[in-house]
Symmetry: C2
Subunit: 255 residues, 2 copies
């Protein structure tokens, strides 16, 4: 088992850079924090590169740590652990994980959630978690949609990225593919020009497109869909939060 | 029209303290930021105490400002406006608003959302916004539930607190009141011991209790309800975010 006690260690400095998106993409690695998420990643077979823990992590999770391959483990000082954490109350463990191979083929069955330019990390993470809970087959991240390996998205996903495929692809291509497979594609609109979701029956296979927080789904995608749907607003709110809307629609379509 | 150019002005220092919960409760006032929210507050008849704006605010919203009572207006410097803002990109206007009188009577009809110890400001704000959109009659904030006058909750509510009553009350009393009125009270549980929400029909009058992010609804309240319900998890996620769950349930019950 390795041991690193100084925050000036070059390996630690490299790990720290993984809090920046550009560097994550270059290294194809990301950091996860907290025992719960790390345990979930290991259980789901994520490609763990390193598990770093301090004194506290060692005493709290000693049984679990004993079961992990010794060559993955690094004991670090409190100071090193704090330097790698972005949480308000850091826990005693972080892990460095390799990103999954994005080249896997998409299976065109079940429900798919397509995100067009969804920018808030909390919204993206929560929608992936809800897609997992509702039993969808996977999630496609279209152009402009937030990177999923930031601390905020990883926290909001609660490990759901290990439970279903989350794939970055240009949406125009993927919508065409769903249509070729004769799978209905639903766009979402913010106004009543579309059809109320309650008029749409339950579907075994479908694609549902959710859009940007302010602008909604881009017009070029709405033109390609089989049907555009909306959620009726009965009170005086102007709109629903996009993650709430996605939750209502996914549970309706999967029911 | 008043004019304040220095951040050292005692009035400005007093306003700034309204970002602290304790001080808001003492003064029974809060700060809202950005033209959109302020316009909504004025339209809804909120008790506005002051409207502060800088050069930019004045030029962008001059027509609207001309329609406001002159005794409410304070022209401030860029520096003063920045000192009062908690937004990452401050807009040119903030307002000081008096809290509504909480003593109003609750009308026991329609749907009511009851929040038990919901702690995340974003969750609380989003649930109030969703209750508004879904057409509920009002929201009760029970013990431990986040104060709604922080910048985070005000942003997430998007003005919905001006559209429906949001009242702080002890939940045990209010649950008893609903029961006396023979209105069904639904608790929410995180496990399948409760009944699936899909088995519950639509209701004209009801109370729905949502609970703490980690612990759910307190056992003492679950024991008092007419029926406890849950949302089936079909994938491998452990649970749904509480605001998402509330959205699915409110749209189901109101449908």
């Amino acid at each position: 088992m390795k041991e690193i006690l100084s925050t000036k260690n070059t390996t630690i400095k490299e790990f720290k850079k993984l809090h920046k998106k550009k560097y994550r993409e270059e290294k194809q690695q990301y950091i996860i924090e907290g025992f719960h998420l790390i345990e979930e990643a290991v259980r789901a077979g994520a490609k763990i590169e390193w598990i770093l823990f301090n004194q506290r992590g060692q005493s709290e999770w000693s049984v679990w740590l004993d079961q992990q391959p010794d060559e993955l483990l690094i004991y670090v000082s409190e100071e090193v652990l704090l330097s790698l954490s972005e949480l308000p109350t850091p826990q005693g463990m972080v892990a460095i994980v390799n990103m999954p191979d994005d080249e896997k083929n998409i299976e065109f069955s079940g429900g798919w959630l397509l995100l067009d330019n969804v920018q808030d990390p909390g919204n993206v993470g929560t929608m992936i978690r809800t897609a997992d809970a509702a039993g969808l087959a996977g999630v496609i991240l279209g152009e402009g949609t937030s990177d999923i390996y930031s601390t905020k998205v990883l926290r909001a996903m609660q490990g759901s990225n290990y439970h279903l495929p989350v794939i970055r692809k240009p949406l125009a291509d993927i919508i065409d593919s769903f249509k070729r497979e004769q799978i209905p594609v639903f766009g979402t609109e913010l106004n009543a020009e579309a059809v109320s979701y309650q008029k749409i029956g339950h579907n075994r296979d479908y694609a549902l497109i959710m859009g940007n927080e302010g602008q909604g789904v881009a017009a070029e995608f709405l033109e390609k869909t089989d049907q555009n749907i909306y959620i009726p607003i009965k009170g005086t709110a102007e709109s629903l939060n996009v993650a709430i809307a996605a939750g209502i629609l996914m549970y309706h379509l999967e029911q």
